[in-house]
Amino acid sequence: MKYVQYLFLFQFFLISVFAVAETEVIEGEDAKQFMKEQQGSAIVLSQKDKVFILNRSDTESVPKPQEITVKVGEYFFITNEEDRTVHNVYDLVDRSWVLKKQIPGGIAAIKFDEAKVHKLNCAIHPQMRVTVNVVE
């Protein structure tokens, strides 16, 4: 019954076509450790005075960036550098992930697995927004 065999093989084709690329999020102590290991080479979005600040090792920090660019499979970090304010970043485009509320000192590492445009917002302070262009 050859058609059964073809049907069996066809399901793997379907899975590969429809498999959703996952966004990976690391939070808490694991993220802190991970960021240390990066030794300042990664892209960091800091939250300070209720705005985003872009920090990259090779350039000066940029307050209120409209957009940042990261590569597919590359981790970038979101940190809370406030004295007291709590933030809660989420993605308007990809609702499969959210960050837990970040208290001051909180660090999260995020990795996107496909090229796409994401729009990040702090839910609590929605004027804090940045577009993340994920490129190959």
Binding site: N88, A123, H125, P126
Partner: protein, 341 residues
Amino acid sequence: MYKSIIVLPVFLFVGLLVSPVFADTGSDDIHQLKQLYLRPSKVVYPPSNPYSKEKENLGKTLFFDPRLSASGTQSCATCHNPSFGWEDGMAKAVGHSHKELARSTPSILNLAWDHLFFWDGRASSLEEQAILPIISEAEMNMSSDQLLAVVRGISEYNQLFSGAFPRQEQPINLENISKAIATYERGIVSGKAPFDYWIEGNDEAISEKAKRGFVLFNTKANCAACHSGWQFSDSSFHDIGIPSDDLGRGEFIPHLSSMQHAFKTMGLRNIEQRAPYMHNGSQKTLEEVINHYDGGFIERDSLSDEMKILNLTSSEKKDLIYFLKALTSRDQVVTIPILPK
């Protein structure tokens, strides 16, 4: 010798009077704090909808025109009434057919500097905010077609719209109605209050109790965590533990715990005129509001991290209220326009 007998007690007495104000903060800190509350020098208008006197005047006319409602009895000003700090003095708003709505009418004071509108932040521009109550079934209950037919049918509006939106073949459209009303709204700014004169350097402008209240507002009472800046709001969204089933912004962001029961932080200018308080008007007085923040809130997963038991003394609560009352400006009376025929 006699001079020192008099002068020393006087110094001590003055010191005693002044010291409670600076108990929590030194005088340099107070000066720095005051800088955070400076008023802006002018109103901000966006490039997509620049200011003109004709547009503002048209916007005001539309704002006060009850013919923009299906019943013919409700204008924007019915609920956003200048007599009540641009609210309506009721716990919950009343819409079409006198039906009570789910939430309180928010004030439209000082919105030119704001970002998201309505209690749940569903409108991202004042233009969007301006048109939504008109076409909302529960509120003014006009369809877009009805609205345009009514406005186009009032011949004097043609001239007003041509003046505000020149060189357009048919200037009476939804976009221009929104733009005109939004332009008028941007000009609704609370004037200088005694607090502002104190910020500018007039030390007699507010009482010592109000000054103590200002310090508490920024320190022990933690109000400035959200009610910051000259409008006394950072426009953030928080669940402040009000007993209510209303999910607020959580309706649009159901997968975020922090947004469930979260509502917009409203500004506090002229707050004395804007009772009752909160999204459902559940608190009738400023005393009730302060008691709510001082441990009267519901603890739940979504509760904002800023909500803590404050342990305010009764005297501290009174000082806070003296301060809040110092935010009332004595503005020029709003004139009601003669509506077009």
